[in-house]
């Protein structure tokens, strides 16, 4: 009997603990960017889980059985929206589980892309810090409704994070001022950087179009090679969440170097400089600056 005493005492102690952990709401986010913004707003007041792993592609993602289970347990689903989640996989998971779903891009003025006569809203809105501020405000509104007791605290965190975004935006403008306007051309694997280019005065070229789905045609590739030559582009860039082969081939054909790897649809793994939005943007800017200056 006495052998079991330590276990009994431990069990008694554990019995007092779980009630506190269970109080926390669970918020499930589709992408790493949305999860980061949500963590910045809720702090430790809620648990934030992300469906996509760092480096995963939101356009092509196929939900797994574990995702449905996670969404079943959550209190709120937050997705990017504007069609980033290919075939609407996040909204479908939320709908199947009967959970409320919020689009973090609600209210963003979308850029419209025209591809072979078909138009799409560009979903990569987070690349402009002004839009990132819209994400944060939408997230603040939804988590404040979910947990009104801590709304004031959420607002205080959001206010601080918006100041970080303000500084980031000003810092990027200052950095790119060092690149002459005519040299600001960004060639990347797919059309993820339109908002970034619009905000900071870049022209952009992406052989694969707005989504990573499908192969590029030889005509598209030739067009990109020709425009690289005509604009006198120094470097082109691969993306962390897209196969680099196409860009490497284009660089070889056009006789330019690959300037580095940019975080695009997904942020970096834990422990990397790009594991948070601010770090991801900072590293992208420094990579572009280093290659084009």
């Amino acid at each position: 009997m006495w052998r079991n005493l330590p276990f009994l005492v431990l069990a008694a102690c554990l019995a007092l603990v779980p009630a506190r952990a269970a109080e926390k709401k669970l918020i499930v986010c589709s992408t790493t960017q949305v999860a980061d913004f949500t963590r910045q707003v809720v702090g430790d007041r809620a648990r934030v889980a992300c469906i996509l792993a760092p480096g995963a592609d939101p356009h092509l993602y196929e939900p797994k059985p574990g995702d449905a289970k996670l969404v079943q347990q959550c209190d709120l689903v937050i997705q990017n929206g504007l069609g980033l989640e290919g075939k609407n996989w996040m909204a479908n998971l939320a709908q199947d589980a009967g959970k409320p779903v919020v689009a973090a891009t609600a209210g963003v003025k979308p850029l419209v892309l025209d591809e072979h006569g078909a138009t799409h809203d560009d979903p990569h809105a987070w690349f402009d810090p002004v839009n990132a501020a819209v994400y944060v405000k939408n997230i603040l509104e939804s988590v404040s409704k979910l947990d009104p007791d801590h709304a004031e605290e959420f607002a205080a965190r959001a206010k601080l994070y918006l100041q970080h975004l303000r500084v980031l935006d000003a810092w990027i403008k200052e950095q790119f001022n060092a690149i002459p306007k005519e040299q600001r051309i960004l060639v990347t694997s797919h059309d993820a950087f339109n908002y970034f280019c619009q905000a900071y005065g870049f022209r952009n070229q992406a052989p694969a179009g707005w989504t990573t789905e499908g192969e590029i045609t030889p005509e598209q590739r030739q067009k990109v090679v020709a425009s690289i030559a005509s604009f006198g582009v120094k470097s082109i860039f691969v993306e962390t969440s897209v196969n680099p082969k196409t860009i490497q081939d284009i660089a070889r054909d056009a006789g330019v170097k690959v300037g580095g790897e940019l975080y695009s649809d997904s942020m970096g793994p834990a422990g990397s400089a790009g594991e948070e939005y601010l770090g991801m943007m900072r590293e992208n800017v420094l990579t572009i600056l280093h290659a084009l200056k």
């Binding site: 008694a12 000003a170 810092w171």
Partner: protein, 177 residues
């Protein structure tokens, strides 16, 4: 028999811990009464002078502000005292022309912390600008300090001013930190 004994010991442990948690604060000495601060006598006014200007007509909505109204411009000057807003300037601001918040309520004896927020916008955004802050008691200067804005963040500074229960004789300055 063993299982009964195990349950009894478990109940004893849990009961003991719960009893301890419920009564541990009873024998603690009572917290000291909150320090009461009295309203400082006199009429207080705050004057701010900036090296940047601002016009409400030309101000665009601030995308990084958390204001309730998304289309409302962010005031270029705001002052708080003890978490209470005492100034939010929304009219035209001219460089070098003082902005005055008169009849400030809530100034207490002892230390008073004013939070000053200045945000140069539009053509003035990002450049270094100065903000002069003066506090008056019965029209006599109590504190006079100048701050510089820092890049995109503008100025977010606290001014701590010690206010004596009775006004000092002319020439005797009170303390600002």
């Amino acid at each position: 028999m063993r299982i009964v004994l195990a349950i009894a010991i478990w109940a004893l442990c849990v009961g003991g811990v719960r009893l301890y948690l419920a009564h541990r604060d009873e024998n603690r000495p009572a917290a000291p009464p909150a320090f009461e601060r009295r309203e400082a006598p006199g009429a207080y006014a705050l004057e701010l002078t900036t090296t940047f200007g601002w016009r409400p007509q030309s101000a665009e909505p601030d995308p990084f502000s958390l204001s309730g109204e998304p289309e409302a411009p962010t005031p270029p000057l705001r002052v708080q005292l003890d978490g209470r807003e005492i100034l939010a300037w929304t009219r035209e601001l001219k460089p070098g022309e003082p902005v005055r918040a008169a009849d400030i309520q809530g100034v207490k004896t002892g230390k008073n912390e004013f939070f000053i927020r200045a945000l140069p916008q539009g053509e003035h955004a990002g450049a270094r600008h100065a903000v002069r802050v003066r506090l008056f008691r019965d029209e006599r200067p109590l504190a006079d300090r100048t701050f510089w804005t820092e890049g995109a963040l503008g100025l977010a500074e606290t001014v701590s001013i010690e206010v004596e229960p009775e006004p000092r004789a002319p020439g005797e300055a009170e303390h600002a930190h």
